[in-house]
Symmetry: C2
Subunit: 311 residues, 2 copies
């Protein structure tokens, strides 16, 4: 079986932790132990991951040191986070594969994802990034740096950036080659650094963020994976989540999933993009998408836990 695993931020940095390198490395090792069970079952595996907390910290550090250093734009900060997380995941996976007596062919790529410069998201930025500002600071940033800032429920002003649709994985040929050869490829971290193609075909980074699950669906189709396995911090997708009658969904077809999305069962800020990505993957030719917690990864892949979405 060919599996693309999409790891949530909690696979690397857990809520309430300080975020030391030791904590993150320990979490990554624990994550890798779960993933190695999938490889041990004979499946071919590729890995992608979120970068929210890490790129958030990098942005705050850039802001705090802006009088001493020119602040790096979002695309460069995203690439830095890929380096950091790719390093940790590569080291964790290789170490756990070795401990399990399995082949240790692992690689981690610095990844770019092409978006359309005319994507409507660019005229409607919605994703908050970076620190909070006072109203006066916000005015200054609007005029000096051309940022869009919104007033965030009394906590101050915050920059918002577009979240365009991922269209093409720049290094797709390489990822496919390595995946076919059985290498555990770690790529498209944080959804990939968003870039646009200029009219002359060259690439240019843009100030945007990508949804890692949407890129994961695209990557899974690019790899012709059988299964897109989205690992998050809940054991399954729920109907009426957070309400007294909340109940887990075991299987769901694409049409049912879309109907529930329309009903507002899966909010945009949490389960929504995962369900949309699952639907996109199975409609695009993937066999099934599975949403589960990290701890249940192996059982979910066997259809014994989590939520399975089929066409």
């Amino acid at each position: 079986m060919k599996v693309l695993v999409a790891l949530g931020g909690n696979a690397i940095l857990r809520r309430g932790e300080k975020g030391t390198a030791e904590e993150q490395m320990a979490n990554v090792r624990a994550t890798a132990r779960h993933l190695v069970k999938i490889a041990a079952g004979g499946s071919r595996m590729a890995v992608t991951h979120g970068n929210g907390p890490q790129v958030g910290d990098i942005l705050l550090k850039e802001e705090m040191t802006k009088d001493a250093f020119p602040p790096m734009p979002l695309d460069v900060c995203g690439a830095e986070s890929q380096g950091m997380l790719g390093y940790m995941l590569h080291q964790g996976m290789e170490s756990e594969l070795r401990a399990a007596g399995l082949p240790t062919h692992v690689v981690s790529l610095v990844s770019q994802t092409v978006v359309d410069a005319r994507d409507p998201a660019f005229s409607n930025p919605t994703k908050p990034v970076g620190p909070f500002y006072t109203e006066a600071e916000a005015r200054g940033l609007r005029s000096e740096r051309g940022w869009t800032l919104v007033n965030d429920a009394g906590r101050g002003f915050r920059r918002v950036v577009p979240s365009p649709e991922p269209l093409e994985i720049v290094e797709s040929g390489v990822v496919r080659t390595l995946f076919e050869e059985g290498v555990v490829v770690i790529s498209s971290g944080g959804g990939g650094v968003p870039v646009v193609r200029e009219p002359d075909g060259t690439l240019r980074g843009v100030e945007a963020v990508l949804d890692k699950d949407r890129t994961a669906a695209l990557l899974a189709l690019t790899l012709k994976a059988d299964v897109l396995l989205i690992l998050t911090d809940v054991d399954a997708v729920y109907l009426d989540y957070g309400k007294p009658l909340a109940r887990p969904i075991r299987t769901l077809n694409a049409s049912e999933a879309e109907a529930r999305l329309s009903d507002g069962q899966f909010p945009a800020g949490s389960m929504g993009p995962k369900i949309q990505s699952a639907v996109r993957f199975v409609r695009g030719g993937g066999k099934r998408a599975v949403i589960a917690s990290l701890q249940l990864a192996e059982r979910a892949l066997d259809g014994e836990a989590g939520t399975t979405v089929v066409a």
Copy 2:
């Protein structure tokens, strides 16, 4: 011809520049234009690069924000710089290859290099990294973080870390596969993140820095490259460099190079490691190592400029 190009820091960030992302990207594009001439000549090419200025900035930012965020150790900072520089180099190379009408198969890897935990460098750290401290701060850091700090000629105290010998490139199999398939592989940035193998075979990052030219020699041998092309900010290696009778060396064999190293012609802080790496490469089976400036890269590869070292 199969060529490994080792880029110096000046290929990305030039002395006197502020280090904005725009400046670095423009430098990378200019660098890529020179390298694309090599690819256009029909050579297969891989690229490695330094990370000194960039990891230096990351370390200073970590220090300036240490009250708000747990500072990341050197290995993680090195991986971040690989993400940043790998992204810029990939984008620059792909764009310039496309502009030249050449195939655009480029990839950038997050790279680790194995060193020996018993390397004598670990008991004799010599490479200064990070900011300057007062004597009182230095005392605190010695006891709290176990750092070695030295008094740097009246400018204050500075942390020194080991620079051990690179022994093995962790992702060597993947780099070789991709290189053989004609992909321009960008890897081992900053010499690779230094790691040691634990007794159980797993990997662990260490607080050290690697010399990027030493790793380049190892990588060039791993790739069975014909030529190791070390690009720096001088047009060639000189005898009596900086003196009235300074004269460029056109060719040099390994024994001559070693004799001149013993004479002190090539200081440890500048040309020394490049000459040592050139000698290591040709003694290890490489056809020739060439040291030249970026502007002369193509001509130097043809033996018409720079300094060529042969066995």
